[in-house]
Symmetry: C2
Subunit: 517 residues, 2 copies
């Protein structure tokens, strides 16, 4: 393994977990010359003639799927911190004495800290997927045997489609399913809305297990996961903790600072002419993003206009905009609360999407580019408008990428962020970990001013006389440093503990082991 | 090219149009050892950043798709005899001077007789797809340059998925579409219900053109065809003749003979215990099949039971059963009238399916096996319960296979057919063309008696004391011959003009050139 300097000037490994890697070449610069992954041709002759694929339990399904050393096992994260399934899968693998597995979740959460024991004892060799919280910390400390691989939602679809990751066994937690394997997330005790993060797994995995705690008679309608891709169906007692799946606690921020960020962001969009009849937007589920949506609502009501569609992450606020006719369609990637689940089940204009439709960069286009404005977060930005979403300024890997990288292809990308957090400036000379190239990031909104990427002359021009506090990114940085001082950089050892993939499968940056104090 | 005897005793070619072929090996006996077709990996970098894939017209799209000699061009048949698009495609190819194309429609109709000129002048080398009417006659006369290849709906999906047919350019007529290529058949002047027959084409073709006469703003909801698979979008003046697409003329037979067949069929099902609460059925769009459905309705109303689902071919009769609560779900493959289209657009329990979900044999199961009883037609059956649906007793290739072969995997397969047509017995010693193996065909219902396949001891037992006119298949044949005389066999030359694929891609029979009088 050697390190190469990629097009962003970052040193990245040429091999990860024994596989050759391509260093990042720039936005839109790497065009693959290959074919998609081709799964084996199945035959109905090998499946039950009556369509009933049930086995007695999860262990039986894992055994029948041929679980053995070195395999790649995937799960999805629609149950978020309420997931009870992934831990069971590896409990069984451990019990069976299987070793060196790769866990390929669409994301992991604090509830998966249970798996640290299996990283320790060799049941799991490494994790490819976003690691939120304890598992990220574990990786940052250099304790995982293999190297972590972080991908965006779209990048995960791309990796599976392109055969970069070949899933041996996909275990798809399904809040409702029939014995054939048709499944959806719309009802049942573990309802989570949709199952889009498991789509690639169902299409491309060698063996697909649907696990459900709400078995219904065929046909399970709608089939978000198609039973034709499914090998085995098992019933489990509980897939998840409903209180943690759709917590119903998504709330708009009450922090005056954050409300100010949100209001500035909305005013900027208005001044820039983005909020017009038939526009489209995406804003996340964080408190500030939700507040931006509410300011959009006020502006739209005043102007008597409507949005053609909102992408998201749905929640009660977005659903109410749909129901009030302010938004024609919600194109939804995951539901964050019970209103989101209800609306998706009831309203044909609340549409379930997938990383394939919305985000896959190795596709004939995707939805991200059609969104007029997207509001995202970041842990750090730098004076070249590069941004970081995975590591904190202390260097610890604590967050996943989610759809963040994919959304950067939207027409205007705005990051409303505080100028400093815990007296550490957020605007720096160089981000600790590069997740998104500055050329795709258009506007940084802070409580002390708004910086527009000079590449976006149109936005500079449109907001020149807006009365908004437009500054340069360097001015923002200086202001932060005047208040907080110049921050000390995080200290790392040489060891690469994780890599960050760009949307095309190339490596945009590496995460190094944090030097222990 | 040499001829081999397949497992059904039919002599079939080992090569067709220059490609090696596998002779039929028996039901469930051929298990492929290969991978699915892997399309090239695309990149968003090569598609418009704003998602607008429109080109000025169909010719521009065909040119941009690289149309050239020897390519395979696909179309779908949801517009049935009202299709105006396929002819335009080949008019343009002819105008461009392109030669030796393979036309790969999901089916062709009399409206495509226009294309005979292009078969004559070498623009089209041969047709792979069902040929209803004039094109079938043309092939039977030995006039096509290449060999026709007939597949079931499921077999067509299988062939594309498995890479047996590699589509260079798919042209998908789309009654509603957006500039990104999302499309559906639910509204617009050319509304045809669904677009399932074009699903494989969209997923696997190298270049995909969506042609629409009803362009809507993104997003076109629902997306039966996903724009992420689409290369180009063009507007055309008219895709089809609405009067011919959903003619609204599907009517239950008034013929007393056929009504009797239908009633006998329904009585048989009732006696056999098939019509029970939660059962499922599929019956076609022909007058007799529709009448069977109506008799089912009466029985269900009397018994106060409901069906879990009906597969089909939807029409006003099936829709009314859904709306009256007699059927929980319609799992629909194509809509035959305006009520079908309306219901599919309005009613979430009227579900659009595809040859992938319903029929693909090279899949991890499909829906066909879950249907309790299916009512089908046939041009001929023989004393081994083998059946023919493509040629008439005079040997002419006049019909497609449709979903017929795929439906044979249902739990009980019943063919209600007249014992003779135009004084030619329908029950013979040996069918002219073998389309379905007798082991999958359970019951032949004629106006002069019902024959149960001896393999189905359970049905024999269940209906023993039913009072129904149960006879042996030999008795039916003798009775027909007593009335009509022993029919003269059709006379053929040696030349193979078309082959019939089984659901697994093997060749179950060959069609030979009809000897001209």
């Amino acid at each position: 393994m050697k390190l190469l300097k990629n097009a962003a000037g970052r040193m990245v490994p040429d091999q990860v977990n024994g596989r050759e890697q391509i260093p990042y070449k720039g936005v839109g610069k790497y065009i693959p010359d290959a074919n998609r992954h081709a799964p084996r041709i199945a035959s109905c002759a090998n499946y039950p003639a009556n369509g009933d694929k049930r086995l007695k339990d999860l262990k039986a399904a894992l055994e029948k799927s041929g679980l053995r050393d070195g395999m790649t096992i995937s799960t999805h994260h629609h149950f978020r911190n309420g997931d009870l399934l992934a831990n069971q899968v590896f409990d069984i693998a451990h019990e069976m004495g299987v070793k060196d597995l790769t866990w390929f979740p669409s994301a992991s959460f604090p509830c998966h800290e249970h798996l640290v024991q299996y990283l320790e004892d060799g049941t799991i060799h490494h994790i490819e997927g976003s690691m939120n919280g304890p598992l990220g910390q574990y990786v940052s400390e250099g304790r995982m045997n293999g190297t972590g691989v972080l991908r965006s939602h779209g990048g995960r679809y791309q990796a599976v489609q392109d055969g970069e990751v070949q899933i041996d066994i996909a275990v798809i937690g399904s809040p409702t399913a029939d014995p054939f394997g048709n499944a959806n997330g719309l009802s049942g005790d573990s309802a989570c809305g949709l199952l889009g993060f498991a789509l690639a797994d169902s299409q491309y995995a060698d063996q697909v297990i649907v696990a459900t705690d709400n078995l219904v008679e065929f046909p399970c309608i709608p089939w978000q996961i198609q039973g034709n891709y499914v090998d085995h169906v098992v019933e489990v007692e509980r897939l998840g903790d409903p209180g943690q799946i759709v917590s119903g606690t998504t709330r708009i921020t009450r922090s005056p600072d954050r409300l100010m960020l949100a209001e500035l962001t909305a005013r900027f969009c208005d001044a820039a002419g983005i909020i017009r009849d038939g526009f489209s937007f995406q804003s996340g589920a964080g408190g500030t993003s939700l507040a931006v949506g509410e300011y959009f609502r006020q502006i739209m009501q005043e102007k008597k206009i409507r949005a053609r569609f909102a992408r998201g992450g749905s929640n009660q606020y977005l659903v109410s905009m749909l129901e009030e006719g302010l938004v024609d369609y919600i194109l939804d990637g995951q539901t964050f609360d019970l209103d989101g689940v209800r609306s998706m089940a009831e309203n044909p204009n609340h549409v379930w999407t997938s990383p394939f439709t919305s985000y896959n960069y190795h596709s004939k286009g995707n939805f991200a580019g059609m969104v007029d404005v997207v509001i995202l977060g970041a842990t750090e930005v730098d004076t070249s408008f590069n941004a970081n979403v995975v590591t904190h300024s202390d260097g610890s890997l604590l967050h996943g990428i989610g759809g963040w990288q994919n959304c950067l292809f939207s027409k205007t990308v705005i990051l409303p962020i505080p100028l400093f957090r815990d007296r550490i400036p957020v605007v720096k000379d160089r981000v600790t970990t590069l997740c998104g190239p500055g050329e795709l990031i258009d506007v940084i909104v802070t409580e002390r001013g708004i910086a527009i990427n000079p590449l976006r002359k149109d936005l500079v021009e449109a907001t020149r006389d807006s009365g908004l506090p437009i500054k340069t990114i360097e001015e923002l940085k200086s202001e932060a440093e005047r208040i907080c001082g110049v921050p000390r950089s995080a200290e790392f050892e040489d060891e690469v503990v994780a890599v960050i993939k760009w949307v095309d499968g190339t490596i945009i940056d590496a995460v190094r082991k944090v030097r222990q104090e």
